[in-house]
């Protein structure tokens, strides 16, 4: 039994974060992501100086890329955190491998998402007006509106997702502190580890807190997406005014987040040499889960068609114009990418080929983006009034903003992979020790 030390060796993971250099590939990726963030700054400055006119939105298309991308990013964040939280609560073996970076992906996505609702306000610097503060005019926010719930939803989402990530990170930061050879690393990691010394009494409370925060994440995720969906559903737009919309937005968001987690798992395995910790069985499970979420998504799409056919003529007409009208390619692109193609991963052989899983994962994320576009823009094609203006099409300023948030997402993940353990080390040790026990 004394030779069992190899079983709980997580030094490889810690040393990734402590390595003095990360190679040219990392620097190139970092530079590309930083360029993206610069583009984001440019897009935001242009928006602030010129105003919302730089976007392609106009009546009736009052929402465009702002809401499309917001709902899309939130979907990725939600599915990634949902996945991580369920693994932690169920103490599933897969958690050791993927929950940490699923949480990180969720955090990066929620940061990217949170920008949009602020930027789309028209006068973003006054966004704090939605907070109930004692104003001179003695007016208060209208809490009977879904738009105000959204402020609380996003704020809580950002804070609780960060907490979930950080609580799980504390013991691993202590490991980094203890393995660091350089003084500044010891100090920085030591500060963020809050003096964690691994007392078994502390562990008991830490585990309770970690699983509790994981459990608290779950209702929050449903609430955040549901509120976004309600913002659409409470309008009188025929295609949006449906009780099924929250289910649609929550359910179809899941393949995008799982697709991103799958892609990240492949990339981490390949670039950081972590095959031992994210093993083939983990990839297998992740692939099947992804395919299953796509199947659930297919059921939601089928439900949409059935509901539309049973609904009143206006709703039916609106749905048909979304599926077969001007924005039809978006609808069908979404249907194929999020529901049909991921089904390929039911084949065991295909689940282990990165050249298959990566395009499918990214494809699902793109597919959900098309679905949001189809919903936000396509849903307005048939309204109660005849449309006189042109169709909505994003302008260069909107595309630059999207690329910028992608840059922000990638930058956050790169920094995460560089500076903190990408795999939960204490969970890995725990798991290995349980496996050794008879």
């Amino acid at each position: 039994m004394s030779g069992a030390q190899g079983g709980i060796d997580t030094r490889r993971i810690a040393d990734v974060a402590l390595a003095p250099r990360f190679g040219r590939g990392f620097l190139a990726a970092l530079a590309a992501a930083a360029l993206g963030v610069l583009l984001l700054c440019y897009a935001v400055v242009v928006l602030l100086v010129v105003g919302l006119g730089v976007w392609g939105t106009n009546v009736p298309f009052v929402w465009g890329f702002d809401l499309i991308n917001y709902v899309w990013w939130i979907g990725i964040a939600n599915a990634a955190s949902l996945f991580a939280a369920v693994l932690v609560i169920r103490r599933h073996g897969l958690r050791t491998a993927v929950n940490r970076f699923a949480e990180a992906a969720a955090l990066a996505a929620v940061l990217a998402a949170a920008l949009y609702p602020i930027l789309h306000l028209g006068r973003p610097w006054l966004f704090w007006w939605v907070f109930p503060y004692p104003a001179t005019y003695e007016v208060w926010p209208q809490f009977r509106s879904a738009l105000i719930w959204d402020f609380w939803g996003i704020m809580s989402h950002v804070v609780v997702t960060s907490l979930f990530w950080y609580v799980g990170l504390i013991p691993d930061l202590a490991t980094l502190r203890d393995r660091a050879r350089r003084e500044w690393q010891r100090r920085v990691y030591g500060l963020f580890a809050l003096g964690w010394r691994g007392s078994v009494q502390h562990w008991a409370r830490h585990q309770a807190a970690y699983r509790l925060v994981a459990a608290l994440v779950l209702p929050l995720l449903l609430a955040a997406q549901t509120i976004v969906a309600l913002e659409f559903a409470v309008t009188l737009v025929p295609d949006w005014h449906q009780a099924r919309l929250p289910v649609h937005v929550v359910g179809t968001g899941i393949p995008s987040g799982l697709g991103v987690v799958l892609v990240l798992a492949v990339l981490l395995r390949a670039t950081l040499g972590l095959e031992r910790y994210i093993d083939d069985a983990d990839m297998d499970l992740l692939g099947r889960l992804f395919a299953a979420s796509a199947l659930a998504c297919a059921l939601i799409y089928a439900g949409e068609i059935v509901t539309a056919l049973l609904e009143n003529p206006r709703t039916r007409e609106a749905f048909l114009s979304r599926a077969f009208g001007d924005y039809a390619p978006l609808y069908w692109g979404a249907a194929v990418l999020t529901t049909l193609l991921p089904q390929l991963l039911w084949w065991r052989r295909l689940r282990h080929i990165p050249l298959v899983t990566v395009p499918l994962g990214l494809g699902a994320a793109a597919g959900v983006w098309l679905d949001r576009f189809s919903l936000v823009a396509g849903g307005l094609v048939r309204d109660h009034l005849p449309r006189i203006g042109p169709l909505y099409a994003p302008t260069a300023a909107e595309w630059i903003l999207l690329i910028g948030t992608l840059g922000l997402f990638v930058l956050a993940l790169l920094l995460f992979a560089r500076f903190v353990p990408v795999i939960s080390m204490f969970e890995t040790r725990h798991e290995e020790s349980e496996r050794e026990a008879p």
Binding site: Q142, F143, W152, T175, V200, A208, A209, A223, A224
Partner: protein
């Protein structure tokens, strides 16, 4: 050893969790007043021997979460029903179902923050320094070793008694923890 600086405890290092649990059990049986164990991952059995459990964290989070939700609900009612009643197409002012979503969300926010803060407070963290950090080899408590520390100082529970008790469980090493 008499010329050495004053010590506050004796610490034993193990390479597995089982002897650590054994040593803890023996120290508890001997009535050792002040002791702790350190491990690289949660060892629930050891925590049980020391009488620590996670339930208080849960109660703190639930209590604070419910308080936060009630506060949010109350604030909404006060703002939208009493202080600034706004008639929107004759809809009821006290539309309580519409006050529930943000009450729930903010309750969860309070609960999650309370889980973290409560856990830290019960653990007396953040505390960046602690005497055990000075024990030789203690950096491996966060990697792959298990430690039992018997704090000395009370009459009858001196360093010699501690070392004798710990030695029975065949630790890799026994060291004294200097007083910080």
């Amino acid at each position: 050893m008499s010329a050495a600086p004053p010590i506050c405890g004796v610490i034993a290092e193990f390479d597995r969790a089982e002897p650590m649990i054994g040593a803890l059990r023996a120290a508890r049986a001997a009535g050792w007043p002040d002791l702790d164990a350190y491990s690289p991952y949660p060892v629930p059995d050891a925590a049980k021997i020391l009488g620590a459990h996670g339930a208080p964290v849960g109660w703190i989070a639930v209590g604070v979460g419910l308080f936060g939700a009630a506060l949010q609900f109350g604030v909404q009612v006060w703002l939208n029903v009493f202080d600034y009643p706004l008639n929107v197409g004759g809809r009821p002012l006290f539309a309580w179902p519409l006050f529930l979503p943000s009450a729930m969300i903010v309750g969860i926010l309070w609960g999650a923050v309370a889980a973290l803060v409560g856990m830290l407070a019960l653990n007396r963290l953040p505390r960046l320094h602690h005497p055990v950090f000075a024990a030789p080899g203690f950096e491996r408590a966060s990697q792959d070793r298990f430690f039992v520390c018997l704090f000395t100082g009370r009459p009858g529970f001196g360093p010699e008694a501690a070392a004798a008790l710990l030695r029975d469980h065949r630790p890799l090493r026994i060291a004294e923890v200097p007083r910080a």
